[in-house]
Symmetry: D2
């Protein structure tokens, strides 16, 4: 942190103190924040129209972990990496775990993939063909075992299941098939492992999606058991949905399992979180802080993005600092003033209490926290300056780049 930045940081601390906030507490909370990055976010991805390869993209799970370690090195709050099977399938998961640990990292959520093989054309756990369901269930069970081997406590499930045409299949039969498969997997999970059930409004299914909204996921979780919880992906809602309310309701039901952070303006397009509506991201963190302060949460904070035209590691770092800033702003909300204004029906004062936190420039306090954790004040520029990308682009010239497919 240079002198100018330091001066701004001191000014910010002073301003926070003046309005009754405790900058030390804020920094402590920020140092404890954790964000998990996804292994597939470092590989090639794209749209149905094109996948544009980028220099330096990893060729295997080990190299993905190395890229993820860069993000952690520069931000200090991203020590775990979610993996996707079979994209990250290796012969020796102990070796993968060891490689992670050697980088100061751990392996986070295990994400089965039951949507790419030709037999999944009409679905996986909802497929009308019992043999396909058996195969899908076996893959989920394999992932439970992989989770055990890599030391993960989270099985994160997203299903592409759905149909493209009215009449193509029965809503209820599909639902009952899913329930039967998931019950078997749930039973197989160790007691300390959670199953996160993600919903998505649409895509790749275009007439109906079997888990299309939080109500669908929640009712399924209710049938499975307490360790089945809902995963909220910010890009997976109809236009206009108030996501922060869903977050609050799921917390109230004790069923908020985790997040997939990203942003979108149109469909689910996996843009950098906060790049479309940063205020919404702040409001989501505001709900989390609200409940966290009363001590009930056990939430997995994960990024799930698809960096199609921008450099991937840089995009990941920017995402992490954005989440840091959203959290920091939520932490400095004057909750007492907020509660008072709400209860007295003072609409605009309550709103302005939130605006007052949101409008504050918290970048320096986040920079300070990153430095305290061994990271960088400006981690994007530090990454650019590090020469890492140029080096791996050279090292990884040969061989096939990892991608979604």
């Amino acid at each position: 942190m240079d002198v100018a930045l330091r001066r701004q940081y001191e000014g910010l601390r002073g301003a926070l103190e003046e309005r009754g906030a405790d900058p030390d507490w804020v920094e402590t909370q920020l140092r404890a924040q954790r964000v998990e990055t996804p292994s597939w976010g470092y590989g090639n991805s794209g749209t149905r129209f094109a996948v544009f390869p980028q220099p330096g993209v990893p060729r295997n799970p080990f190299e993905k972990l190395e890229d993820a370690a860069q993000v952690h090195r520069l931000t200090g709050i991203c020590p775990s990496v979610a993996i996707h099977i079979p994209w990250d399938r290796v012969d020796d998961y102990a070796a993968l775990r060891q490689h992670a640990e050697s980088l100061g990292m751990t392996i986070g959520a295990v994400n089965p993939n039951v949507f790419q093989e030709p037999e999944y054309r009409l679905g996986s756990v909802c497929n009308p063909d019992p043999e396909v369901r058996r195969r899908a269930t076996d893959h989920l069970l394999e992932c439970v075992e992989i989770a055990r081997q890599v030391g993960s406590k989270v099985l994160s499930l997203w299903f592409a299941d759905g149909t493209n045409y009215a009449g193509q299949d029965s809503f209820l039969e599909r639902r009952h098939r899913m329930r039967e498969c998931l019950a078997e997997v749930y039973e197989a999970m160790p007691d300390d492992t959670r199953m996160l059930l993600e919903y998505k409004f649409y895509e790749p299914a275009f007439y109906e999606t079997d888990l299309a909204d939080w109500g669908s996921s929640l009712t399924m979780c209710q049938k499975l058991g307490r360790r089945a919880q809902v995963l909220v992906d910010l890009g997976h809602h109809p236009q206009g949905t108030n996501i922060e309310q869903i977050v609050a309701f799921l917390l109230d039901e004790g069923r908020l399992g985790g997040f997939h952070f990203n942003d979108r303006r149109y469909g689910d397009d996996d843009l950098i979180t906060g790049s479309v509506n940063p205020f919404q991201l702040f409001l989501i963190y505001n709900e989390l802080v609200e409940v966290q302060t009363s001590g009930r949460s056990n939430v997995a904070y994960m990024i799930d993005q698809s960096h199609n035209v921008e450099p991937k590691i840089e995009a990941m770092i920017l995402s992490v600092t954005t989440l840091q800033e959203a959290y920091a702003k939520a932490l400095i909300v004057d909750r007492e003033a907020l509660r008072y204004a709400q209860r007295s029906g003072d609409v605009l004062r309550a709103h302005r209490v939130l605006l007052d936190a949101y409008d504050t420039d918290v970048r320096t306090i986040c920079a300070k926290v990153r430095e305290d954790l061994g990271g960088a004040a400006d981690p994007v520029e530090a990454f650019r300056a590090s020469g890492y990308l140029e080096r791996v682009a050279e090292e990884r010239r040969e061989g096939a780049q990892a991608g979604w497919l």
Copy 2:
């Protein structure tokens, strides 16, 4: 039914028989169909920009029942009328019930109104002010009593509760306040009465709505008890929502309480049901028939529309015949062929089984059923020819027309 229509009707029966359907069964089902019309659909309504008065609009609940009786007379399937309190408040509910019965009608769902009085500016059962909540709860309890007096078994609840600005109030506190109020009302309901809980994506609240989707309503019902069920209003979903899937899921959960039929292209704008996407309406009925055939449903079919520019009674008749035709088309779906195609993964054959029913012109069989029930083959034209509107326009010249406000 004139000779030409009769010929078409016979042709249709023949065509149905040729593909293995039983026209007699279809007609029997159609004769048993019931649609409830809303008292407020006969009064003036409009948008926030204007309410255009129409000739002959009723001036009180008694006259609304008379208009509703016209719809029943011409269609034969609309013997009940939903009422709204206080719009339909009278001194003597026994007299209102008696008037209905004298017209061959009954009073259906009772709909409390807790959104118009100035004290409800910040909500009713979710209002931060306990006195306002008390008043709202008392109004709901009054409606339980009115339901008893008019012989209704359905309390139909829609709340305008929500907020316009982020931070204005706490999601969770609002939810807990609602639960407390509704629990009191639920306890007060007779054992044979159901509480239907309607959700709405937005409007009149524009930041968040306290019951915004089926998940919100369902989880609230779960907390209240088995006689609390979800009401699906077709206009109350985000763009693109697959409503027929929600219907199927609620049936599966045993929580589908009823419908408010209407249609919309943009926001919730209460157009004549089926006027925007008649195929969707057919698909909804298709799910209902699917489950009805296995005998599980107890669903209230109600219209909830706002006829702003078109004549109200005529619009109601057209809505009813549209629902009849959607149901008729759902009844002639070849379910065996559908199930076979679905289970064998034959995507387009399954889809075409639905299309085959939907593309069939069922108007004559519906006309026949109406005639069998004492109604008219072409009830809209019959209504125009009856001179009813001209007569009441004359009779109701003086006094204030009933409206929403």
Copy 3:
């Protein structure tokens, strides 16, 4: 500005200078900013469900001007007021103008209202009945005359025209009728007066709206003449629309006439501008600054909001300061760095140049500018402290409050 605020202000100036911006230039631009408030924003408004009266609401156009003068007094950048005819119809427009001038104000855009009278049920300038079109055209011509009398150079047109049902009317006949009416009005306008043509995606028409998007308005303007320009209301677009792009295109076509600022999450619901997505507002100002710096714009900046649950004057002040802050952030964008990053295809650096400006807390520089203009550092709190609302609530106890209808 107290000492603490002053210190932050000095810190901000220093930080701006450090990165090459010129705080003096920024302040000069901010002092020249103008925002027009609408007379109807001070009267009662609401939704189709309810209009909640508020204490102190004006009873006539003169009192509305007085409320508007409060907003100008505290912000220094709102010297003009848009009026709506017939809501603001008076016997003596010279007196109205004089009253405005006595308050240090002027009268801005004149807004005809051709959507409330019963004859407009099927439209105004698009109505199938030529007599109704004549009446609507005459009202527009009356407004041209009123504009002359009050010294306004802007005729601001919004039409509720549209249909609710497929087939109700002919798209093309309606369009040709509108063109004919507007051509007559255009001819009648003095040479120094502009006609702004507003579009709206929907509401109150629910099947089609005759001017539904910028393409519809622009092609109509092309047929009328150069002084016909498009008015962009932020709430009048389909979900997801990139409004800043439309702004840029209209500037490029030389047809951006003005704005109606507000915000919305769902339908067109006239929330306080920036309260849903403040980043979007910044991006719009960013386009305006982009072009303004090359000197081509003549744009009317107007607020059009409907304050249903919150106090109206306070809401207006908050809107104005929000617009100020959005403009301030757009002014400090490092355009040279932006252009360089764009041209070299550096996606994330270009994006971060915008973020760097957006994340900056510009509130103190805006406060300073307001004070320089005779306004208040915190104009919302200053208004609360002024006792104005309590005073007029007392003075205006008797008589009917002004409203939309």
Copy 4:
């Protein structure tokens, strides 16, 4: 046509005559209908998540033409095929043309592809790099030459150009770059060739698309010249957009160049046309018939779909018969009654005139027309029975299937 179908057909003709329609005229119009199918609709396609290969998929443009010839053989109205370059690049275009002619087919619109090569990551004709723009323009010019060689009179342009992040590039510079490139291509086109300019709300660009709506395309066409016209793809609009109105407006401007038919519920997902809202498709044809009867149109009717889970040839046939039925229903609208009801402001009668046509089962008259043209009464079943797919699946076992990429 078997006896039962024949009886229904005769019944339909009788019913049409009874209400004053001329079945012979309807059949004549239907025989003259033309629909162009896309070569790429016969190859593999999918979503970003998976492409599921299907048996019998063509391996080259020649085989695609053979599949298209099947669709024409069975429907009689699809004699032309749109091609995509480079997906359909061949050494000898004369040979391709000859192959088409030997199958009784012609080659229709030529579609350049400037979105898949790595250099198009940041756009093609809008790319900030002039060398990329040069390459894209050269490819467009190559397609002009290919069109000449294959005898096509239509250059059909869709650009994936857009950006993913605010600030990534300048709206106006991108627009000016596009204009410059297209002007060069426009100049190079023979006088009898039209340029169709397609717009798309979003995807694959997720922050802004350079041609995002009809206004963007139309204003670009205005700058290019009269032979530049707008192409309307049904799936490329925001939710709720009234597409039939856009069609009417473009016809009015003399700029409706053609259609890409498909349907969608959520994003642009290229489902079988009419499978989500068949009523909308009817309304679009209704506008076309409206204007066609007054003889002004020169419109290219093309299908553009992506058959991800269903068999491709079958899906294409179903799409064609759906378009036939939509057109047939539009042809039997009682336009005199419609016009009369519209002009007299009879909202529901006008609406019911459309419904009366839409509710009519026109399948038999379409079947008759297909038979008259040498096709099949039930072309989907006829295709299944033909053994074509099984035969080519065998013949095309070896070699790479054609696909999007």
